[in-house]
């Protein structure tokens, strides 16, 4: 299983905080764009497509090209605005 967490603006669009999915045939983070499609509004996939969103794998920033392996936690992160 992989655990996908949504934050802030993107969580509002997703309508959920997190979702657990079987890894299935997904091999890279970008495969989540289609893998999430059955569970979130299409607007989330569109929002992720515009490239301002960032992604983390196991608490480290990662690219959409990063490998996806069983048991990881993926964060779907809007541009940060702390401080």
């Amino acid at each position: 299983m992989i655990n996908v967490l949504f934050f802030a603006h993107l969580r509002d669009i997703a309508g959920i905080n997190q979702i657990e999915l079987p890894l299935g045939k997904m091999t890279h983070v970008r495969d989540l764009l289609s893998g999430l499609l059955p569970y979130v509004p299409i607007e989330l996939i569109q929002a992720l497509d515009d490239k301002t969103a960032m992604v983390s794998v196991d608490h480290k920033y990662a690219g959409w090209d990063a490998p996806l392996t069983d048991g990881v936690e993926v964060g779907i992160l809007p541009p940060v605005s702390g401080g």
Binding site: F7, A8, S56, H59, P78, V80, S81, G82, G83
Partner: protein, 163 residues
């Protein structure tokens, strides 16, 4: 004492200053930065006031990013001790939101390291702000100004900071 604190409750600058001095008894210079919630919507030329911010973060990832930022600052500008406190949850206008403290032998490194840490906190650490007020609520995006503040540390990594 932990170098990084992410918490909902407020912090006391006098108490924090005493802790930093105790943790760095050989330091001759202490720099404190405190960020407070301004009462206007962003952009700041707005004249409508906010009631509070809702601060969200990614538990676990935030702490390790903050520690990483402190470690990078220490490599660039060696210091004796640094401490970061960042509040999350509901924070009202004019309340404290973030504190960065650095103690070092000489003042230059304390100033440089505290600015470095603040710049990276703004652009790397997984915090998100939502403004809530008369105009409704809006998530804040990253500011170009903060991005360029961070980039300047990456362009000339060895030069001394110049006016």
């Amino acid at each position: 004492m932990s170098d990084v604190v992410i918490c909902e409750h407020d912090f006391n600058v006098g108490d924090e200053y005493a802790k930093v001095c105790a943790a760095a008894p050989k330091s001759g210079a202490v720099v404190f930065f405190v960020g407070l919630v301004r009462d206007l919507y962003d952009p700041q030329n707005s004249s409508e006031t906010i009631d509070f911010l809702e601060l969200e973060h990614y538990p676990g990832m935030t702490e390790s990013l903050c520690q990483e930022i402190i470690d990078q600052a220490r490599q660039r500008f060696p210091f004796d001790f640094a401490r970061v406190i960042h509040r999350v949850g509901r924070i009202h206008a004019s309340e404290q939101i973030v504190m960065v403290a650095v103690a070092s032998r000489h003042r230059d490194n304390a100033f440089q390291a505290s600015q470095f840490i603040m710049d990276y906190l703004k652009t790397r650490a997984t915090f998100w702000k939502k403004e809530v007020g008369v105009k409704g609520q809006q998530w804040l995006g990253q500011k170009d100004k903060d991005l360029s503040a961070t980039l300047r540390w990456e362009k000339n990594s060895t030069e001394r900071k110049q006016p």
